[in-house]
Symmetry: C2
Subunit: 245 residues, 2 copies
Amino acid sequence: MATTDPTVRSARASTSELPERGTRTGAARLRVAVPSVAERVADELRLQLAEGALLPGARLTESTIAEDLGVSRNTVREAFAELASERLVVRHPNRGVFVASLEAGDVHDVYTVRRAIEVSSLRAGGTPEGVAAVRAAVEEGKRAAAASDEDAIGTANQHFHGAIVALAGSRRLNSIMAQVLAEMRLFFHKATVDAHFYQHYLRDNEEICEALEAGELDRAADLLLAYLDRSEDRMADVHGEAGTA
Amino acid sequence: MATTDPTVRSARASTSELPERGTRTGAARLRVAVPSVAERVADELRLQLAEGALLPGARLTESTIAEDLGVSRNTVREAFAELASERLVVRHPNRGVFVASLEAGDVHDVYTVRRAIEVSSLRAGGTPEGVAAVRAAVEEGKRAAAASDEDAIGTANQHFHGAIVALAGSRRLNSIMAQVLAEMRLFFHKATVDAHFYQHYLRDNEEICEALEAGELDRAADLLLAYLDRSEDRMADVHGEAGTA
DNA sequence: AATTTAGCGATTGTTCAACAATCCTTCGAT
DNA sequence: ATCGAAGGATTGTTGAACAATCGCTAAATT
């Protein structure tokens, strides 16, 4: 059992104060929608989550975060509500919130969502710009591979799948996909994958992209489906499978 | 433009106090997870939303709801955050939260999500119990039709589609579908449909169910897809189409 | 010695009261 | 009639307070 220690790396955001919001002396020049403090707190936590400053299982203490970020506990609470709705964090009533961690079952669950959303979106075909975005993500991945930039390869891969979902042109699907990708990112920190983990992806992505560009949607969809299945297997391996039930 | 009047029916929950939670004198017999006050507030609002006590576009004033439900403004705020994450309510910064309403574009968007999720789930086939649940929803609809119970027919229809998604056995897909259905329910209040609106559904549902039971997943999926397309068209009609963009 | 019990400290859940910021409206000036 | 300046109302955020609950430690019981 790779159960993460709940006390590991409890939120010590040290001096990471919230970015000032320009003190607003010179009047809001544009109706740019200034994010509320609660949102900025959520953003900050999301960031720390994404870059692995907060590991799965870590406990987030309200008062600590409130102090570190210089906001009220109540505001932190609202931020928690947001993160919880995104499944990035789990609330244990009366015990606190903890950084979420994908269990074996969750991996399969997440891939079930991805299969549904990505395949359906790909079948939509999308606009030429949409297809171009997919192609761009493929190239981004190739460049990252050429530079042997592990992190960039992973990012490019997420861009690729994000671009596929974007083909459907649905706000809701996009936001669902964004959440799923955020969840997976969380998981990847536990599973620091080695170089060739992503290498396979690059070829697959390109092949899918080519089929898409050629308008062979069925073939593209089949390829994507196969890719997702393989990817899930690999993820399950990394995690240490325990009977998906 | 059927723009709903923002002041219409602002939350006057009158005497709808929150249901007491047993005062907890006799110690919690089971670890039944007592929902927090914020959750109960969200539940109450969700209920009023579902039964049309709060119409789309209506404004929800923090202080009013706090008083009516006998809770603090801060707690109402947390409830709002939850509802907003479910898209049942929209936050206009510094202006308040309003009951969400589906615009023309949203209808298409919602159906895009449904096509992705429902078709994919149906293709999974599911367990015998899952299929039985689908069948049960069909029968429920028939009974409701026999009794000419408009409301019950609609409910049965939602059960039917919920059961289809449940075939995939994915927590996440289920919760996504639940949200989508909640959004649609919201919309239906604006579009009080006439009797034969649902009548067509019953035949379709049964046909899909039969294909599913026969193991003809591809055919079932095609039927479902066609159904969703037709349903979207009808919804768009009711709404008063304005060019889906 | 092992197990249960009781008590303690810490943290969450919730309330309350205050104040700044912002928006909408109304009124008044031009 | 148009524009701009108060005014009022509501949201956004804070800080402090207190009850409820949890986990742990130490005492008490068998």
